[in-house]
């Protein structure tokens, strides 16, 4: 279907008649709203959109999207979506997952999907807790966190999801926040435009089991001091008065105040297409250093990497061109045969 004949979709076209069963106040509502707002803009016929999920609060997502949807089993959404995308490259397949689903039980599928660069858009709702099982720590929970399963605090070191995705050589890695609606929608649009695997971490609040999970980022007064927005081609500036920036110092980043001889020219200018893996890693680890802000936006966007399903299809076309049309009779008779006469 060409975009000319595409019906003019509205947000409501992507809403279902199902009663939404997330807790009131859950960050997932904001994410759902952003996705339903962005989908009509994509120029894709509704029937070509598929949302696949695993298990967890985030994985209820497909039930609330009026597209094709598949709520699967814990951790396996990337593998199921991979099988679908290889056989049906004509579809646009989105994966809804969470920190437990994607990084714990489904960690293996996540990294292998990313290394293959399958054309899937992955929305990873990171609330640093297991919600649906009622409050155990997750692989992104901070060290020492007291939860139902860790009454004396966790001993685990958490994953940095951005660094993990970069480590798997993901070709598109971004981060946004549930309540930053404009930023979230903008990030979703960029993910939609990427051909290969797009991994989007969405910082999300669980007001029941991990309230204030990202408060230092999201709280109005604090956010401009604690968050730096990554914008391609622009220097890394943050602060309430946009008077601070990040400057490269050797293999590290440092916070500098603008003025007193320090200008924007001294700051690191964001290059989302930087071919050096180290560049995005540097950004991914910024927030772990005291006093440094957490970046949101696109960390890496490598647009020209071959997409898995395209390579698979091309190989089949090549073999067909070389070996001619498939002939089952010929296949069965291949090799040594002999005839028994009546």
């Amino acid at each position: 279907m060409s975009s000319a004949t595409l019906p003019p979709y509205a947000k409501k076209d992507f809403q279902t008649d199902q009663e939404i069963r997330w807790c009131p106040g859950c960050g997932d509502y904001a994410i759902l709203s952003a996705v339903q707002s962005v989908f009509p803009e994509l120029g894709i016929p509704k029937e070509k959109l598929v949302v696949i999920s695993g298990i967890g609060c985030s994985s209820r997502f497909p039930y609330y999207m009026n597209t094709f949807g598949f709520h699967t089993i814990h951790g396996r959404a990337p593998a199921i979506a991979t099988g679908l995308k290889i056989t049906r490259p004509d579809l646009e397949v989105w994966v809804a997952t969470g920190d437990g689903d994607s990084l714990s039980i489904g960690g293996n599928h996540t990294i292998h999907m990313l290394r293959r660069n399958v054309g899937l858009k992955v929305l990873m709702f990171n609330n640093r807790i297991y919600g649906l099982t009622k409050g155990q720590y997750s692989p992104t929970s901070e060290v020492g966190k007291k939860t139902k399963s860790t009454p004396y605090g966790t001993a685990d070191r958490p994953f940095n999801p951005i660094a993990l995705a970069l480590g798997a050589n993901a070709t598109f890695v971004a981060r946004s926040v549930d309540i930053f609606q404009q930023h979230l929608k903008d990030t979703l649009r960029k993910a939609a435009a990427h051909k290969g695997s797009a991994y989007v971490e969405i910082l999300q609040n669980c007001n029941i089991f991990n309230d204030h999970a990202w408060e230092s980022f999201t709280e109005k007064d604090a956010r401009s001091e604690h968050v730096v927005q990554l914008e391609h081609g622009k220097p890394l500036i943050f602060g309430k008065n946009r008077d601070k920036g990040l400057r490269l110092n050797g293999l590290d980043l440092e916070v500098v105040s603008l003025g007193n001889g320090i200008t924007e020219k001294d700051l690191l200018v964001h290059d989302q297409h930087n071919p050096q893996p180290a560049y995005a890693f540097l950004l991914a680890h910024v927030e772990e250093q005291p006093g440094l802000p957490a970046p949101i936006g696109v960390f890496r966007w490598w647009p020209d990497q071959p997409r898995y399903e395209d390579t698979v299809a091309a190989q089949i076309r090549d073999v067909q061109a070389q070996r001619g049309t498939a002939d089952l009779g010929k296949l069965l008779h291949a090799g040594d045969t002999w005839e028994v006469h009546a």
Partner: protein
């Protein structure tokens, strides 16, 4: 070549109905290739045959040791062959370890060819032999032919400029040449194979060819053998034949199912013995549009296949027991979302890693019941290597017709064993109709076909059919998430009824042999050969025996209960602790007895016969 085909007239030439030959040596000695070559040659000549490759799980255990012994047995005949043979007429042993492991299977007065060059003190020590069997009279009951295989091969190849190691790697072809002479076979097929295999490597083509010819000429010249043997072609039913292994037949069966259904074939698989060859073979068939996906693990292999099926492909996954265990949860998902899928379990000895290269039938109950909650799945089992082709087609057809996952239980013996297979006419293969839903009018994701209880296959990309499915319990018809008690019971029963409805496609059980009588043998899978041979032999002695070989294990043929009642006794031989027998006893309240062998090896005909005699005498 033709001049070398006829042995000198002074040798006695004896015609036999059948012969069993086994090649054994180190896993690096090329015994599997040697056996396959001999097999192809006798197959092309027109003998009926069965093979038993037997190799260790280790790629190369230390040379000359007992764990490193690899063997390949061929039974070929001018009449029907059902098993690879209980015992061996001719044994080729490349070293003392191979001799020690295999001698117990050699018939009294059987032919024993050994590589004399490998019977030094160190070789004997590696095989834990206190004395040299060639000198201590322990081989007195056999016709022993000690041949300097290594030295003679080196002598034959001395002008090629190869190093000693490369020359020694050709000694299996020297032994093969000897066997061709001994059984009056042409070397043509193997010469052609050598040309093809080592294409572009002239030195290796020459070396292997010369080694094989040297072995042949050696027998002709030395008068070591006073008798040669002739096994005339078998009287198979007319048609074009090829040699086929079970794994190869499964691969081709799925390609056929893809062609007959018009669906692209998607195989998700993770390498595992003894199933990997299906992946290797299907990955060659890209010109048929086959997509093979070597997944990151067993779970991804099956879930990717589910994803492909969701999108409208023929999704299959192939594995062995440990992989089945990992796929369990995803199998439950396939049951719940009611998508077509074929899962092949090429069974091997267990539990856990168990005996990776040895055969067993102990995954039957796992296939039938090994999932959480009520998750019934149709189960099929091929009975011969060639039957694997037909089972692949049938499993695919049932999966699509009823919108269910279907399990195929093959095993290591069928997977690697080979037999002559009559190639079917493509136009005579069953069609596999596919009806994708495309009408949004009144579309409901779980509205069922009244006959098959199948839900519609509504694939993404179809306008107006946008809907959601998942592993949560759903309301019948609408597919909406639903936790109501009565709906759950209804759905559990519906899923069971749907699998039970597959019985419409299960042929009635028709016993081979006597239609009623003293004993019914009920068996399944790869025990077909030895059971068939044993029943024939025992009926020839006047016993009244029937044999039902089940290809459908769920649902069972609807007349099976009646058939069971027509015999005084029921015997169920299985390569497990008694899984089918337990089902039959539970379902039909019949006093069936089991006969169980759990040695990683197929039953021998004599073992089944012995059991029959024990029961009936």
């Amino acid at each position: 070549m033709s001049t070398t085909l006829v042995p000198p007239p002074q040798r006695k030439r004896e015609t036999l109905e059948r012969a069993v030959i086994r090649f054994c040596g180190d896993s690096g000695d090329g015994m599997q290739i040697t056996g396959s070559q001999f097999t192809n040659t006798v197959a092309l000549y027109g003998n009926d045959l069965a093979t038993l490759p037997d190799f260790p799980a280790e790629i190369r255990a230390p040379a000359g040791t007992l764990p490193g012994v690899s063997g390949f047995q061929v039974h070929f005949s001018s009449s029907d062959v059902y098993t690879p043979g209980d015992s061996v007429d001719a044994l080729v042993a490349m070293n003392p370890a191979a001799l020690k492991m295999n001698l117990p299977d050699l018939k009294p007065n059987g032919i024993l060819i050994v590589n004399l060059d490998n019977f030094e003190e160190m070789d004997l020590r590696k095989a834990q032999m206190p004395s040299n069997p060639l000198e201590d009279h322990s081989l007195d009951g056999y016709r022993v032919f000690p041949v300097e295989l290594t030295k003679l091969t080196r002598a034959a190849l001395k002008d090629l400029g190869l190093d000693a190691k490369s020359m020694d790697r050709c000694k299996n072809f020297f032994a093969l040449g000897m066997c061709y002479w001994l059984y009056n076979r042409s070397m043509e097929t193997s010469l052609r194979w050598i040309e093809d295999k080592f294409k572009g490597k002239l030195q290796l083509v020459q070396a292997n060819r010369m080694a094989m010819q040297a072995g042949y000429t050696y027998c002709e010249a030395t008068e070591a053998f006073q008798i040669t043997y002739e096994i005339p072609p078998a009287k198979l039913s007319p048609g074009v034949y090829r040699n086929i292994s079970g794994n190869s037949a499964l691969a081709m069966g799925f390609v056929a199912a893809s062609q007959k259904s018009g669906l692209p074939l998607f195989q998700g698989s993770y390498p595992i013995t003894p199933a990997s060859d299906i992946l290797h073979e299907l990955s060659l068939y890209k010109n048929f549009g086959v997509i093979t996906f070597q997944a990151e693990d067993e779970i991804a292999a099956i879930t990717a296949a589910i994803g492909a099926a969701y999108g409208g492909a023929l999704g299959i996954t192939t594995t062995s027991g440990p992989g089945m265990a990992l796929k369990t949860e995803a199998l439950g998902l396939a049951v719940a979302v009611e998508l077509p899928l074929v899962i092949c379990d090429i069974q091997r000895g267990g539990p856990s890693t168990g005996l990776p290269t040895k055969t067993e039938q102990a995954d039957l109950l796992q296939a039938l019941f090994g999932r959480n909650s009520e998750a019934p799945i149709p189960v099929l089992a091929p009975s011969t290597p060639g039957d694997c082709f037909w089972i692949a087609l049938e499993a695919s057809r049932i999966a699509i017709k009823y919108m269910v996952p279907v399990i195929v239980l093959s095993d290591g013996y069928l997977a690697n064993g080979a037999e002559p297979w009559k190639i079917p006419d493509v136009s005579e293969l069953p069609e596999i109709p596919v009806n994708f839903e495309n009408n949004p009018e009144g579309f409901r994701p779980y509205k069922r076909n009244p006959e098959t209880l199948a839900r519609p296959w509504a694939i993404p990309g179809t306008p107006g059919l946008e809907h959601r499915i998942g592993g949560l319990e759903k309301q019948d018809v609408t597919g909406n998430v639903n936790y109501e008690p009565l709906n759950h019971e209804r759905m559990v029963r519906l899923r069971a009824q749907k699998v039970a409805a597959v019985v419409q496609d299960v042929p009635d059980a028709i016993p081979a042999g006597d239609e009623s009588g003293d004993l019914l043998i009920v068996a399944w899978g790869s025990t077909f050969g030895p059971v068939t041979a044993a029943v024939r032999a025992q009926r020839a002695k006047g016993r009244r025996i029937g044999h039902v070989h089940l290809r459908h294990l769920n649902p069972l043929p609807k007349n099976l209960g009646d058939v069971l009642m027509r015999y005084d006794r029921v015997l169920v031989p299985e390569m497990n602790m008694g899984q089918l027998v337990m089902l039959l006893r539970a379902k039909y309240l019949v006093d069936a007895v089991g006969y169980n062998k759990i040695q990683g090896k197929p039953f021998k005909q004599s073992e089944i016969e012995h059991k029959i005699e024990e029961l009936l005498d």
